[in-house]
Each structure stands twice: as C-alpha cells, then as structure tokens.
C-alpha cells in the first residue's frame, strides 16, 4: 500500500506537469494568432496577383507545362506535417492520408516531406527524397520560395510530371482534416480584358514568373494553413492534458485524504483501546 509521502510526491509531480501543459497551451495560442494574422495579410496580396495573372491570361501559351492537364505518370507527393508532437492526432492523420495515397499509386512516385514527424512516420513506407525540417518555428515566405524552387526545377527536369500535396486543411479551431490535392499543373485562369501595357521585361518572361509565383503563393497558403491547424491542434491537446492532470490531482488528493483519515482513525482507535485497557487493569 502507498504511504502519504508517495501521494505527496505524485501530486507535486502532476502539478509541475500542469504548469508545463499550461505554458505550452499559451505558446500555441500565441503562435496560432500570429499565423492567423499572416493568413489575413496574405489574402489581399493573393487577390492582386490573381488579378494580374487574369490580366495576362490571353498571353499565356496554351501548352504551358505548368498549366492544364497532365498524364500523371510520374507524380511527386509533398507531405506537410509538423516538426513536433504533442498536438493530438495531427501528425498521425497526415501520415495516414499519405499512406493511403501511397497505396493507391502503388509506390510509383517520389516523395518530399516537410516536418520531422512526417519523416519519422513515412521513411519506413517509402524512400524520401528530401526533407525540410524546422521551418515552422520561424515560418516566412522564403521557405515557400525554397520549396517551390525544388518543385518547379524537378518539374522542368522531368523528374516528375505532376505534384500532389498532402496537408491539413483548417476550417476553425477544433475542425481540421487532412487532404490530398493535385497541385501542379495548376488550373487555367480566367481571362480578363487587358489594357495596353508596356512590359518590362518582355511579356513572356513576366507571365512565366507570375505563374511560378502563383505556385509559390499556393505553397505559402498551404504552409500557413497546416501551421494554423497544427497550433490549433496543439492548443486543444494541451488544454485537454491540463484538464486531465487537474482531475488527477483531485483524485490523488482525495485518496491521500482518505488514507490520512484512515491513519488518524487507527491511531485514535489505538489510543482509545489503550485507555480502555488501562481503566480495566486499574479496577
């Protein structure tokens, strides 16, 4: 049977744990706000880029390799996971979704992973070509530029003819789900009336860069969305953990008090019996 000292020690340990989970919850909440701000700032930019692109849609060559249909003979899968755990089923779900895709394609594709957890989960299933680690701590647009460069370079070198992305869609705090989407080639853009412009440099180069940038933006959007979902998931997980730990403290304290009560009763009983015995021996 446990003694009181054991109980005290355990309660103290759980209370320390509560401090940690509470701190982690606060940190995730702050990170969540920061990424959500980035999402808000991103939207007007994306709208303007889309507007420019639709202005130039008539100048886009019909057979542009980054646009339209493809045979999907040599696909690439990009999986966006997190670097750290302790965020509920977030990583597990993404890995499961990627595994589903892997099964469907019967191993006939290449794999690039963002996030340490995704690497750990997927390297047993399929060889990984490239891993991006630790980008979510200080997520900025240059990460999106770097990843897109890899995607597009491989595309033009004919290492893959299409790109799929598995990532976590974020709907609201507490609602997110993994999804796999075809990503490159992108869908055709709608045309809009164009004014007469002077181009600097020539229009072909501008269009080419715009299309690439459009893909960069999509990568950025997906990184942001995944990061938002990760932080939301961690916030919820840590909140739950704090509550569980608090329950545990309550139960342990109750048990400890019962034990203490028992001890006191026993001691009292001892004393009372002793007194009774003494009384008897006197008479």
């Amino acid at each position: 049977m446990r003694n009181l000292q054991d109980y005290r020690r355990r309660i103290r340990a759980v209370k320390d744990l509560i401090q940690v989970t509470k701190a982690m919850k606060t940190v995730s909440a702050a990170r969540l706000r920061r990424t959500q701000n980035k999402v808000i700032n991103f939207k007007p930019y994306a709208t303007r880029i889309k507007y420019m692109l639709s202005n130039l849609a008539s100048a886009i060559p019909d057979a542009h390799p980054l646009l339209g249909e493809t045979k999907e003979e040599k696909p690439l899968l990009l999986v966006i996971s997190a670097d750290k755990g302790l965020c509920g089923p977030f990583n597990y779900n993404v890995i499961k979704e990627a595994e589903r895709f892997i099964k469907e394609k019967e191993g006939n594709f290449r794999l690039i992973v963002v996030g340490r957890k995704g690497e750990e989960g997927l390297k047993r299933v399929h060889p990984i070509e490239k891993v991006y680690k630790n980008i979510f701590v200080k997520l900025n647009f240059s990460h999106a530029m770097e990843i897109t460069k890899t995607l597009i370079d491989g595309f033009y070198k004919n290492q893959w003819d299409s790109v799929f992305i598995t990532y976590t869609q974020f709907f609201c705090v507490g609602r997110y789900s993994p999804v796999t989407e075809r990503f490159v080639p992108i869908e055709k853009v709608e045309e809009e009336e164009m004014e007469e412009y002077i181009f600097e440099p020539e229009i072909k180069l501008v269009v080419e860069e715009l299309i690439k940038h459009y893909i960069e933006l999509e990568v950025w959007r997906i990184l942001l969305e995944s990061s938002t979902a990760e932080n939301a998931a961690r916030m919820i997980a840590m909140d739950q953990a704090t509550r569980n730990a608090q329950d545990m403290v309550r139960n342990l304290t109750l048990e400890m008090n019962k034990l203490r009560q028992e001890k006191i009763t026993k001691e009292l009983l001892d004393i009372v019996t002793a007194i009774e015995a003494m009384k008897k021996s006197r008479t």
């Binding site: 700032n41 647009f141 501008v206």
Partner: protein, 141 residues
Amino acid sequence: MGRSKEREEKGLKIDLLTPERKLFLEKEADYVEVPTQAGYIGILSHHLPVMGLLGIGILEIKKGEQNERYAIEEGFFQLEGEKLTLLCKLAWRPEELKIKELEKQKREAFEILKTSDNPEEVEEASKKYTRASIFLSLARG
C-alpha cells in the same frame, strides 16, 4: 523616363505588399523609382500603363520634400492609371534590416567568389554579394 514639372501636380497612389504583410496602402507620391530586373525605372504621374518584374534593390518614393526608401526583393509591379501596385516577395523598411547579418552574408559570398570555380556557385554568390551590398548601403543610410 522624362520628368516634367507641370505633370507632377497629380499624385501617384502606391500599394506595397508582401505575402506576409502590408507595408502601406494608397501612399501618395510625386515620383517613384522602381528597381526592375533590368535596372531602375522612374515613374511620374501620367505614366503609360506598365507591368513587369521587380528586381533586388531600393525603392524610392518622393512626395514633396519627403523621401522614403525601402529594400525590396523580387516581385511584380503594375501601373494602372495613377495606381501603382508593388507586390514584392520580400520587403523591409531600412530600420528592419540587420546590418550584422548582411555583413556576414557579404563576407561569405565574397569568400565563395574568391575560391570557387563552379559557374553556378559563382553566379549565386555574386547575386548574394550585390544584394547584401545594396541593402547595407540602405541600412547605413
């Protein structure tokens, strides 16, 4: 691009955005110098519509006596009427540039330029060197 006095009365309106943040919206200006990939172009009011690629460099905005400068890196610009939209992949105010970091980048690029024979590496390093030098000159004022 020619400058003429009587045209400067009507002002340009400029938006500068990056995917991460808005630096400013609808800022009024008389004259803007935009770094494109082929060099700087100056834009005054009543300029013809122009669209193109931004390079790495310093964006200069003049309004009256005031003069503002920003470090920008790649992106797109579009001038429609008096509205100039600058969409940069990365952009900083001069006070946001980190002098120490830029100096380090400049030194590293310089080392590569001195030692490497790989043309791809040399090209990248020279780009980095130019970038760091331009931004340093802005950061130091």
